[in-house]
């Protein structure tokens, strides 16, 4: 069986509600709220009454769910791990960008 699919980019343009983020990540809302309190996830406007998150937060929240399930981490440890992973991701991106700018030579 073969199916033709439709798609959505999980990027900064996409906006999802708090409830949608919980559903897409599979995290219970209480745990998601804890991750926000720890700063692992941030709504686009924290002062707003209705939180809205970027599509990138979906990727982070799904990673959080996988790590929580695989390592039995509490929200504090999870936030720490997510913080390190984000730093690694940013450094790898910088490294990739610098490597791309290095001439390969003849």
């Amino acid at each position: 069986m073969s199916t033709q699919l439709t798609e959505t980019w999980l990027d900064a343009r996409l906006e999802v509600s708090f409830e949608e983020l919980a559903r897409l990540s599979g995290l219970p809302e209480a745990e998601l709220r804890e991750l926000i309190e720890y700063g692992a996830l941030a709504p686009s406007d924290p002062q707003s009454e209705r939180w809205v998150f970027s599509g990138e937060c979906v990727v982070v929240a799904r990673t959080a769910k996988r790590l929580r399930d695989s390592f039995d981490l509490d929200s504090g440890a999870l936030s720490l791990a997510l913080g390190f992973l984000e730093r690694i991701r940013a450094l790898e991106e910088e490294l990739r960008s610098l490597r791309a700018q290095l001439p390969r030579g003849p």
Binding site: S2, L5, E7, T8, D11, A100, Q101, P103, G105, P106
Partner: protein
């Protein structure tokens, strides 16, 4: 059904206590978990490890697993006659196409309300695509081995094929969500989603950084000195690039909007990095020209060496 030696996968003795099993799992998970490991085989290895741990950490499942007896890894085997009735609650089933992990997964839901709505499983896969494909958009064929229930409610491993469209605008590490294309929901539960991670394959000419592309641009010494208009390849076809006089090696010449297209419009830039290329063996005629140039030129590419050295001498 193929036997998997869950104890061997975790590297523990069959009589290991729960603490030893947990410790062995955690050590291996730290090494192979796809979110933390750089091992290209990490994901596959982690799946095995997680499957072994999911069964051995649960006393009831572990007892059921132990009842299967010890076999060689990969050996075809049948569970003992009463095993299904005793543990699976389903004595009449066949075990030919069954994956051991699915059996124990199903085992977890045994006894719970079978009418409860259950959302389908999300699938996550990486699609490796070329730069040209990212530039134009591409439809990729994906094959996934997924657990599915047959008409008797028994679980079977099924091969599912997808055609997933990656629209233009992809770059390395971007994610796509394909709604409703994961596992089927049960009892009215919603279907799961398919998550696609885009990975760009290396290209012989272009190097990608986000949506920007970098290309080495070899120039003859006279092109760099005098300036020139040269043909440059881009993903959209060849363009003419004006190289200004006095172009230095390493200088980046920007071709606006000639990089990868962005998902919501616009595009990255293409940077041609100038390199001064010299002939490995100059012809006699070329040698004469270079010798004339050497005699007639006052250019000293290492002038700053002398300035810096004299400055050092004067300060010591």
């Amino acid at each position: 059904m193929k036997y998997k030696d869950y104890y061997a996968i975790l590297g523990v003795e069959r009589g290991a206590d729960a603490g030893a099993i947990k410790k062995a799992y955690r050590k291996l998970a730290q090494k192979y978990h796809p979110d933390v490991s750089k091992d290209p085989q990490g994901e596959e290895k982690f799946k095995e490890i997680a499957e072994a741990y999911a069964t051995l950490k649960d006393p009831e499942k572990r007892a059921a697993y132990d009842q299967l007896g010890k076999h060689a890894s990969g050996e075809d085997f049948r569970p003992p006659p009463d095993w299904g009735r005793q543990f699976g609650g389903d004595s009449g089933r066949g075990f030919e196409d069954v994956d051991l992990s699915d059996l124990f997964e199903q085992f977890a839901g045994r006894g719970r309300g079978r009418t409860m709505a259950m959302p389908g499983q999300d699938y996550e896969v990486t699609a490796h695509i070329g730069l040209e494909e990212a530039y134009r958009g591409v439809t990729v064929d994906l094959e996934l081995g997924v657990p599915e229930f047959d008409e008797n409610g028994s679980i079977r491993r099924a091969q599912r094929s997808f055609k997933a469209r990656i629209p233009k605008g992809a770059t390395d590490g971007q994610r796509l969500r394909l709604r409703g294309q994961g596992g089927k929901g049960a009892n009215g539960g919603p279907d799961g989603d398919l998550y696609l991670n885009v990975a760009l394959r290396p290209h012989p000419l272009f190097r990608a950084s986000g949506h920007d592309l970098y290309l080495d641009l070899p120039l003859a010494p006279w092109e760099a000195v005098l300036g020139a208009t040269v043909k440059v390849p881009t993903l959209g076809g060849t363009v003419q690039l004006k190289v200004p006089p006095g172009t230095q090696a390493g200088q980046k010449l920007r071709l606006a909007d000639r990089g990868l297209p962005k998902p919501h419009g616009g595009a990255g830039d293409l940077y041609a990095i100038a390199q001064i290329a010299v002939p490995r063996a100059a012809s006699e005629k070329e040698r004469v020209h270079y010798e004339e140039l050497a005699k007639g030129s006052s250019f000293n590419p290492r002038g700053h060496f002398e300035q810096e050295t004299s400055h050092e001498h004067s300060t010591h």
